[in-house]
Symmetry: C2
Subunit: 400 residues, 2 copies
């Protein structure tokens, strides 16, 4: 049986970067850039006042020891700076305004006394460049600002707006189909009989996919019969990713692998040394991939996070999964040799962030993840991890 790393490697080897699509910058949030972004001009585009005060020649103070300056005019943000400034003159200037040529320092308004057209300062020297952001100090015209693959989040959108860019090329989301199999499954608006359960995995997958702006193109609940499975799988294989929940354990009614084979889906692996989630099935077609996901709700959550989400991220150019490495706030014990992924919450408070395991009844426990912030990893070769052991942690919602 493959271990988790081997299975992830096979899965990620079967991605290809998605098509480009153009999006408005606000709609592009969370996608990765499929183009480079360069500066359209210098930033700042002019020498900019960073304080309200008086723009002067620093040498007037430092070398000429001038005590009183003539205030020749005011420059507000949004005004052209006007004529060059000459020795002995000061220009009153507001934060964000363009500093006139000649002036190389600004004395803060709090350090000045203006009387009519004259101003005196309670400082006797000033560093050249003080309180001025120099033209081009942040970026020069044509500089590379954002590389391909940069993930678009609010500060990037702000940056793009600054550059006058309102549309960008990004890597598109893949298309997805979801099938819930199993004769025990009923739709959520239908009262279940005692031996039946409602279809929750479909909602879990759909809401997880929302984080990547993916709305499944096709969804169905499918009975465990070859005929029903064939019809649904044929349709589902039209999408980039087909996720089939249930039907991949060892039960006699698990027709899914056979039906997939009959449509030419090539099995790449079945079963991984992971708990929960062992029965994961993965295969490829000429145009996409198929994930066969165990039907237990916790297994479904783990398999999505550890195998399907990394696939989606790579297709969308979003890079590797972001994970944290944090100490356990309590010891944690496992049985068996499979790597265990278990729900934890992050301890709040004024100490180093640490992980508190959430106890549960295993892979079928519908309440297992309540109160958790994500999944921590317990390597299969260690039966006990002491309090303080640093482990990897995948937040349910990634930081990017």
């Amino acid at each position: 049986m493959l271990n988790v790393d081997e299975a992830q490697e096979i899965i990620l080897a079967h991605t290809k970067l998605s098509r480009h699509v153009q999006k408005g910058i606000l709609e592009a949030s969370g996608f990765a850039l499929a183009e480079e972004i360069h500066a359209d001009r210098d930033y700042p585009p002019f020498n900019r006042a960073t304080m309200d005060g008086y723009a002067i020649l620093s040498s007037d103070l430092n070398d000429e020891h001038i005590k009183e300056f003539n205030v020749t005019r005011e420059v507000f943000a949004g005004m052209p700076a006007g004529e060059s400034i000459v020795s002995g003159n000061a220009v009153k200037i507001m934060t964000g305004a363009m500093v006139p040529d000649g002036a190389d320092a600004i004395i803060q308004v709090e350090q000045s006394i203006q009387t009519g057209p004259h101003v005196i300062f309670d400082v006797t020297e000033i560093q050249a460049g003080k309180n001025i952001a120099q033209r081009g100090e942040d970026a020069k015209k044509n500089d590379l600002i954002l590389s391909k693959g940069h993930v678009i989040q609010p500060y990037v959108i702000s940056m793009l707006a600054t550059l006058g860019i309102n549309k960008v090329q990004v890597y598109d989301s893949p298309t997805v189909a979801i099938l819930s199999t199993g004769d025990e499954i009923v739709p959520i608006d239908q009262p279940p009989l005692t031996h039946q359960i409602r279809d929750s995995n479909h909602y879990n997958l759909k809401s997880s996919l929302q984080n990547y702006w993916i709305v499944p193109s096709y969804y169905d609940i499918v009975r465990d019969t070859k005929a029903e499975l064939e019809k649904a799988i044929e349709r589902g294989l039209k999408e980039d990713i087909l996720i089939i929940s249930g039907g991949v354990s060892m039960g006699d009614a698990d027709f899914v692998p056979d039906v997939l084979a009959s449509f030419g889906v090539k099995k790449l692996f079945h079963k991984v040394k992971i708990k929960p989630g062992k029965p994961l099935w993965f295969g490829e077609t000429e145009t996409g991939v198929v994930f066969g996901v165990p039907g237990n709700p916790v297994s479904c959550q783990v398999v999505y996070k550890i195998f399907i989400e990394p696939y989606i991220r790579k297709v969308m150019g979003l890079g590797d999964m972001r994970r944290l490495k944090l100490p356990l706030a309590e010891g944690h014990r496992i049985k068996g040799e499979r790597t265990v992924y278990f729900p934890c919450k992050i301890r709040n408070g004024d100490h180093l962030s640490a992980l508190i395991p959430i106890t549960n009844n295993g892979s079928g426990d519908v309440t297992a993840a309540i109160g958790s912030d994500g999944l921590a990893v317990h390597p299969g070769d260690l039966s006990f991890l002491e309090e303080g052991t640093q482990v990897h942690f995948y937040p349910w919602r990634l930081l990017w």
Copy 2:
């Protein structure tokens, strides 16, 4: 001047929990529950097989030492369990299926050899309850499953679907208006003159608000004249939150505080010991609040994250900001006495997660946050933090 904690306290004291709104469970992602959720039946609703195998009476093996069992029938997931099982009989059963009354253990199919209607096992004893999830072991009918305020994320949506709930009451988002003030500001589709800059803060705020499903009801770029500000502020005050970018420093053209006062907005504070973001202005009306945000792009990002986002979260019942506490991967020095919020990225790799500061040119640097994952906090009373010092960290995108 207030310190950050005092300012946050005043801001949070002026929240009131938002109105309830009903949403479909998938649309409710990221909102907080405004109702309690109880179990509609026991979970599991029946004794459920957790393995494919044979259901038997454990005493047959442990006490009666029966070697060969009669396989009387098969039970698949989704089938009623049928008659009670009696001593000497075994029922073949699939994962997820209902265990017949009487049976109290399941022997895995891998530990069995079935020949015609008979099965023998290569185990000679089995624990009662083995491979069976007991009815009600995860939750009993009518148990409280989710409290008011629980944040809805994929595992919660899965849980709600399990319970047959497709609509929930949540706390609604507040309504927001955004005004960008400043004569230097031009819309992003208009070429700026040398002394002008494009309106980036509006995009930063809009994209940050998207994380809370908020689309501003009103937005405008406003000249620094009383008349224009009056018209825009009058309209903006109709929303729960009015955010005004720019116009709150000490420049002569900063009419914003006066105009707000003329509409009866009560100032609660102006200026905070924070860097960047010092000129923050906060006030209240009878129906809402006003944030006056400094115009520099980094200041705007910091003020949103540290003051506006916590306000929105409290109104939406989402609880306190989630922050991490992590060590610095490098030393960090500040000047002055204000608490400094600086962009960092989280170090990847196999060591404890740590924060790498992103160097930048200060609050006006439009490129300051590039490559960062969030904001770290440097307390104003310490000029230098050594490598390894644990500091608070606010990810740009919260974990919930």
